[in-house]
Symmetry: D2
Amino acid sequence: MSSLPGQSRSHVRVRYAETDQMGVVYYANYLVSFEVGRTDWLRQTGSTYSAMEDKGVGLPVIEAHCAYRQPARYDDEIEIRTTGRLLSPARVAFEYEVVRPRDALIVATGSTIHAAVDRHGRPRRLPPQVKDLLA
Amino acid sequence: MSSLPGQSRSHVRVRYAETDQMGVVYYANYLVSFEVGRTDWLRQTGSTYSAMEDKGVGLPVIEAHCAYRQPARYDDEIEIRTTGRLLSPARVAFEYEVVRPRDALIVATGSTIHAAVDRHGRPRRLPPQVKDLLA
Amino acid sequence: MSSLPGQSRSHVRVRYAETDQMGVVYYANYLVSFEVGRTDWLRQTGSTYSAMEDKGVGLPVIEAHCAYRQPARYDDEIEIRTTGRLLSPARVAFEYEVVRPRDALIVATGSTIHAAVDRHGRPRRLPPQVKDLLA
Amino acid sequence: MSSLPGQSRSHVRVRYAETDQMGVVYYANYLVSFEVGRTDWLRQTGSTYSAMEDKGVGLPVIEAHCAYRQPARYDDEIEIRTTGRLLSPARVAFEYEVVRPRDALIVATGSTIHAAVDRHGRPRRLPPQVKDLLA
């Protein structure tokens, strides 16, 4: 199945470490999946978030939201579908859908908002290669 | 400093494990602080979440939100102020304020929504001792 | 490059969540890599750890050791090489080598010892399909 | 109960986040408890690890070991007893005992070895205030 334009798809397998005593993925760990998603999304720019940081540009999270639909479990293969959206010249939102492809279960949906900052934490414009990929 | 009625205050110290390479607390870890906050809030009922689970009542998170204001750092003492709000006979919302008391810095604010479920994951009413504490 | 008999190779990419303010993978997270390694090792039995647990057999860790050689960093692709060794009819040891294939860097080495237990936490013999794979 | 000379005692409560689907604390999280222990141990020097890092001295872990005795569970209050031992002018070992004071249960024991390094990661002597506290 092909992705939407500008959408990235990441695949991870749930680790035992990520479960809690309810037998499902602990709720904070979905935000880690989101990070995996946006790291792969940014890789589509031909660069990486790591290289961006080396050049002195950061994208710290200023807001995060997650809606939990159905629990993911240990050893489940899950897919994170990530899209980006321009909010302003200095802000970007990512939207995430966490699914279990085996049975097309929608596990969680969420979003994060990020501000572009320079090496000193001051607001700056988004790097052009990020902006170009945004809807 | 006294708490608001029904508000609980929890104190934790930021662990090295919770920081990331930006030198601040990694964003998903605030949701763990929220968990510490609501565990202590529930302790005000005279019971504990642990005892509640033993009796077959769970309060899984169905939604979480966090706004990141100022970064907390390694070894910072932080306070989590938690309040509860009744959403329906079977749903409760918790609201959190994460502050650094040393300089009254507001680090993060957020909320979580929980559905009461029985041992089989089916919706049920909130336990009376929880409902009685809610605004 | 082929694996040794009975050796499994797992591939993961370091997450931002796994780094700490020193800019490298936080030391406890290598034990999570080890878990990824032994989960994949057990998959070679034709079954999974998850299926084993469903049948009432657990392999809780009773001892863990890690030697840290060179730090892994955010977004590094790392490989976990896992081998198993029979210690007794009821105990197994796993040995791990965490490497960064890009430059053949040995990041960490370690081991874990596990006791086979039944559903009630009582010692039992290792499942035959696990024992058959052990050196 | 008083501590041994040079021993520090830290108190933490097990978080839901730290449990896994076995219903107990996930094994890697004991290394986080060890970190809490040695951070408090270092506070006895009259300084902090945080201040030490600011002055350009780090104590990265080069080896870690943990023996798991009895599982700690969600909401358990646990105590980490930490002692330090000089290995060489540039190396220190910490030893940890994780206990559940409620019933004097020994949960885990372990150790970590650390090398003193300067801002550039080069070996250096341990800071005198650390050395002075070591047995």
